[in-house]
Symmetry: C2
Subunit: 78 residues, 2 copies
């Protein structure tokens, strides 16, 4: 199993993307962890290190996919 980390901030755009991933991601291949950076700001550094610029974003192994646009990571750090 590989890890899939979905970073979000609880925004409507984020929730839509999360629902898509829960439905569409092959859960025989990936364990999906959902991280709310608003309520878990201690995870922001790791998200940034992984290349996340905005949320919602999906990190699959070492690749970042920004899915639509909800909020900039910089705004979550303010």
């Amino acid at each position: 199993m590989s890890n899939a980390v979905f970073y979000h901030a609880g925004c409507p755009v984020c929730l839509g993307a999360e629902q898509m991933l829960i439905n569409a991601l092959d859960q025989n291949k990936y364990t999906l962890e959902s991280v709310h950076l608003g309520t878990q700001p201690n995870r922001i550094d790791a998200a940034e290190a992984a290349g996340v610029i905005s949320v919602p974003a999906l990190v699959l192994e070492d690749q970042v996919f920004h899915i639509n646009f909800g909020a900039a990571l910089a705004d979550l750090k303010a």
Copy 2:
């Protein structure tokens, strides 16, 4: 089975997103069709009608997910 349509233009960003989807999408739930709008410009109108603004983009049933950014649809119409 539901339909998943991936619109792209052959760009490197598009190919990365396509590879991710081929790996990660649950193929027991979705049939993935890949449409290259550069070589199939007759599909641009349908993409636009579905809400696609840029590629790469994934349309799952009636929802559009723009995954990273490769090219604007407007540029493909030029």
